[in-house]
Symmetry: C2
Subunit: 215 residues, 2 copies
């Protein structure tokens, strides 16, 4: 049975992992007959956002501890990820990817990227194992691997950022995936488009299916 | 298009709404051609649990604000729920149901129940509209409506609690639902059984399908 590592950036679209994308990635992995193990960096969140008002809250939370909410406790620190033990790596989206795993939300293409995230992606890629990226996560992967083809949907500014990182961007609609066969990168727009939750499920399932074909 | 109200008890299995059950309920509603609107009471959580360690954290969070993470901000205070405008009401599970919506986790069958939750359930029932309950939530509904038939899976202690509240309990396995046709209550065990996420999706889908048939 193939094992897929899923990296979460917290729990909640505005400061962490997008919950629907994360949950529906797990569902797709299970339904397609593979296993998952979740990981998250053991670092403070960039900030905490009140998801009702959109305002910043005067408190601090830890990415791993909050991601454990999605994982029902079954999650490990990203420092323990070893690409040799997994068949693929997937990043669901959410602003946490662009705030906690890297600083793209603030710095654009000149972003800093978390070192554990860099190492996980580079090692997985070096071993020729596939990497999946939903929503905004393809920008993170492009920032690490540079010369890859991905999709973030249709948003012009973000597509330009991908290109300025050295990547190639391809426009996609709901549920569609872009497969960079040479680099084994699978991406899909999810909530980078105004989407229904069924469309998120479709994008996650198509991504996981493409990854399992490459793995 | 039928409209279903979904009541969340926070965000995270140990102190709020179980995230997979909540997300997969929304997915089922969307896939089966209905609409959803989420609600949560605007009250403090009973407590905050570190989902990595299982230990209580020395902070406080608000049920509505945290539930907004699952809802991507699109959620309303439960005080605004009006049963006349909806075709059905659903409660996903999670310890938050037994800690925030009522005190079953601490007081068993002699629990106190949040007044807005009581009102929402009684009004929906009075209008002969169906109510769905996943995981531990059937205990809450039995505590309010008393003489109903539900399932919480196979756990003997919880089944006895249902009976001592005046309800009737029926054992079920993964994905199975119990439909109390007279009272229009649909329940399913979800994570009250040791389950895979695909089994949760199946239970949520079967619940929503049965509810839509009654609505």
């Amino acid at each position: 049975m193939k094992k897929i590592a899923v990296v979460l950036a917290g729990s909640g679209v505005y400061d962490g992992a997008e919950i629907h994308e994360a949950t529906l990635t797990l569902l797709a992995i299970d339904r397609l007959g593979a296993q998952y193990q979740m990981f998250a960096p053991d670092i403070p969140q960039y900030h905490v956002v009140n998801h009702l008002t959109g305002e910043e809250m005067p408190e601090s939370r830890n990415v791993l501890v909050e991601a454990a909410r999605v994982a029902r406790g079954k999650i490990r620190p990203l420092s323990e990820y070893n690409a040799e033990f997994f068949d693929a790596l997937i990043f669901p989206g959410g602003f946490g990817v662009a705030k906690n795993l890297c600083s793209f939300a603030f710095d654009g293409p000149s972003m800093k990227i978390n070192e554990q995230v860099q190492y996980a992606v580079k090692e997985t890629h070096r071993l020729r194992k596939p990497i999946g990226a939903l929503c905004i996560a393809p920008v993170l992967i492009a920032g690490i691997l540079r010369n890859i083809e991905v999709t973030i949907g249709t948003d012009q500014g973000t597509a330009q950022a991908v290109e300025s990182l050295g990547g190639k961007h391809k426009k996609t609609g709901h549920g569609e995936v872009v497969v960079d066969i040479e680099n084994r990168i699978v991406s899909t727009p999810c909530y980078m488009l105004e989407a229904s939750i069924s469309q998120i499920a479709e994008g996650a399932e198509n991504t996981v299916r493409a990854i399992l074909e490459l793995a």
